[in-house]
Amino acid sequence: MIDATTAFPPARGSSGERLATAAVWSSALLVVGVSVWMLGGLFWQGAGRINWAFLTTEPANAGRSGGIAPMLASTVLVLGVALAVSVPLGLGAAVLLAEFTDSGSVFGRLVRRSLDVLAGVPSVVFALFGNALFCQYLGLGYSILAGGLTLACMVLPVLIRATEEGFRAVPEDYRRAAAALGMSRTGTLWHVLLPAAAPGLAVGLVLGIGRVLGETAALLFTSGYVDRMPESLLDSGRTLSVHIYDLSMNVTGGDANACATAVVLVVLLLVVNAAAGWIARHWMRGKRISE
């Protein structure tokens, strides 16, 4: 790789050059400044309220005081439903696209194209769809199940793409070796390809978890915003992100707890994203060296 910072000196004494350098640096500084302003502000105001009691008690006074235990539980449940549905489906689709479809096949191209469109569909459109199909036609009402199913549809493209890349990263030799041993395709898939493609699956999974945790609009009218501890998947449940929205928009004096909840959510997401980065860097690299 060429290190451009040493390879291309700025022109001496050129005012255009100086202007460009100033513009580039000030853009970067602006972005850093806004990030620090936003994240720093959130943590500054919110972190102090977070303690064990905040995480384990029910909200009181419409959320102005008390904790976020039911929201954590609902978030975990919605996440569980979404993954339980989308992972098998996404894995199956990814295996088909990566292992059993020629790159030129019409079916493969159609599925990929449609997944690309799906990835760009706004979350509020998923919400409309989820409300119509799961809440009304299937009669699930505002429930964690309906919310989870809606999010399963949403994360499917992310999951499939990452998993498919995981399969494509598996060296061709593995497949040839397995075929030479007379293994069936099913056997090859289970015992050779799936373990080798696991990092891709893991990255997809982590990205999917990130999207589910942060999603709000798609849940507003699928899983709803009842703030009690859910007792079954058919109960309505309020996730952390919906809690932030509701406290800040509909509850005067809810900002402090909204801010603390936002900090909890951001920290959760940071952990998840760090995990994704870690898997992508270390696990994949380890695999490549061992090849």
Binding site: M1, I2, D3, T6
Partner: protein, 257 residues
């Protein structure tokens, strides 16, 4: 025909980290003549060439010691203006690398960069440069088409024209014909011959016949104990007819490398 030397290389070595690419090269490249650097691949010729316009700065971890003067200017002095330096010493690469822009823009870009804005003058210079490399008749109707649509040989001639518009004093060429088919290669070789006298030309090649046809002076690089060395250096007649080193004799007779 020699009017003194253009490049004065004294005791120059290049290291990438702990690895030595070549060491202790001493050479003076005559002004206005064609000098060929020959030798097997991987013996430091291309790295050496890259040290002469400081393009070696692009390689991470490269460290140059010793000194090089070009037309009296110390290349590695801390005060050297890198941009002005590279303007004075042009370069042609092994793989033709026109920018993904139009033919005209490829030539105008370096001109504008170096302060020529006048439209008439730009057009004249572009035409002149294209005529110089025999490309004008082939492309005059499609100057605004993408340069990447040209054939390999045309691309390489465009790159040559792009280097020449800046009116450099010297031109470094890194195996300029090896990525081209024989016909295109012959065209580029002819051009190099025509440039003799106007520019100081330094050509890396591992095509011995080409070196014989082109060069006034020849240097042989060789890998000894993992380090590139300049084995022998002298007029073409000496290298090809009466080499002083046994290794040179074997190489030019085709027994080595």
């Amino acid at each position: 025909m020699s009017a003194g030397s253009y490049f004065e290389v004294s005791d120059m070595s290049l290291h990438y980290g702990a690895k030595c690419a070549f060491e202790s090269v001493v050479m003076s490249v005559p002004r206005g003549e064609v000098t060929a650097l020959i030798g097997p691949s991987g013996c430091g010729k291309t790295s050496f060439l890259n040290c002469l316009n400081r393009l070696i700065d692009l390689a991470p971890g490269a460290r140059v010691t010793g000194s090089v003067r070009a037309g009296g200017l110390d290349l590695y002095a801390p005060t050297t203006d890198l941009l002005a330096l590279r303007r004075r010493i042009g370069m042609l690469f092994q793989k033709p690398n026109p920018f993904p822009l139009s033919i005209r823009r490829n030539l105008e870009l370096p001109l504008r960069e170096h302060g020529i804005r006048d439209k008439r003058r730009l057009e004249e210079t572009v035409e002149h440069a294209l005529r110089d490399v025999g490309l004008w008749e082939e492309v005059k109707d499609r100057l605004d088409r993408p340069a990447l649509q040209l054939s390999g040989g045309q691309k390489q001639r465009l790159c040559l024209a792009r280097a020449l518009v800046l009116e450099p004093e010297a031109l470094l060429m890194d195996e300029p014909c090896s990525a081209l088919d024989p016909l295109a290669s012959a065209v580029v070789e002819d051009l190099i011959k025509r440039l003799r006298g106007r520019y100081t030309l330094l050509v890396v090649t591992h095509h011995l016949a080409q070196a014989r046809r082109l060069a006034d002076h020849v240097g042989l690089f060789w890998m000894l104990e993992g380090r590139g060395k300049l084995i022998e250096w002298g007029p073409a007649g000496q290298i090809f007819e009466a080499p002083r080193e046994a290794l040179t004799a074997e190489y030019v007779r085709g027994r080595q490398g």
